[in-house]
């Protein structure tokens, strides 16, 4: 399994990110990225060996975490970086801001108004 650099660039562009920004957010150095990009397979030799013995593609013996888990982990890394630079900030404020930034502005406002309405009822 090779790193699909074209796909990465397309996904970056879809999210309005440069490759440099992506690597910065992911805390991956350019050296590490281009070293991975040059590899014929990014999987450990042992995984390829087991798959080869079984006569299946390596992807057949790998279990992938759901996309939501990957996204949550990425946001947690980003929150940690904000908190490193702003140690007085509260985690929940930073976290909720990052989560809200994943949504379109109109949905952020709807959430705010819904919570405001709920607070008014109680």
């Amino acid at each position: 399994m090779k790193l699909d650099t074209d796909r990465i660039r397309k996904l970056c562009s879809k999210r309005g990110l440069t490759l440099q920004a992506l690597l910065q957010h992911a805390a991956v150095s350019r050296t590490a990225y281009y070293s991975l990009a040059r590899k014929v397979s990014v999987l450990p030799v042992s995984v390829r060996a087991i798959a080869g013995e079984l006569g299946v593609a390596p992807s057949a013996i790998l279990e992938e975490a759901p996309p939501a888990e990957w996204r949550t982990r990425a946001l947690l890394r980003r929150a940690a970086r904000v908190l490193d630079r702003h140690p007085h900030a509260a985690f929940e404020n930073v976290w909720h801001t990052l989560v809200l930034l994943e949504e379109p502005p109109v949905d952020r406002l709807r959430r705010s108004l819904l919570r405001g309405r709920a607070a008014d009822l109680h």
């Binding site: 904000v82 900030a89 509260a90 930073v94 952020r108 709807r110 108004l113 405001g116 309405r117």
Partner: protein, 157 residues
Amino acid sequence: MAAPPIFTEEEQAFLRELVRQRVDFMIVGLAAAALQGAPAVTQDIDLWFRDLGDPHLQEALRRVGGVYIPPTPSTPPMLGGRNVALFDIVVTMHGLDGFDREMENTIEVAIGRTKVKVLSLERIIASKKATNREKDRRVLPVLEDAAATLRERRRGK
């Protein structure tokens, strides 16, 4: 029973009409903060207009079935009508410059297909600090943490 929908297409239509009629306005307050990603809670959408006497504002209101209710000695200027009930008129923003100067401190935010001017989070914070009511002091840490998060995000782009 399901809660009634909030900030519906009909309510968004007022913003669309304001833009279409070229009315000079901006969204301020906690709704503006929420649009930028701050986890703030609000009950209404505060609008700051350059000129409440602008006939185009009247036209935008007319098109969505709303009316402008001028201020009286005991009441502020208000908007009437189901489709504009969510909006409040702001006449003064404590701690800020005049409308024209603050227009330079707005960002454009897309609400559906309409781009509206929204006062920047930094200026909302400045205004909350100047107003300094208990409810403003309570929300300031949330806004300041959100602003720090946005700054870091911009640094990474």
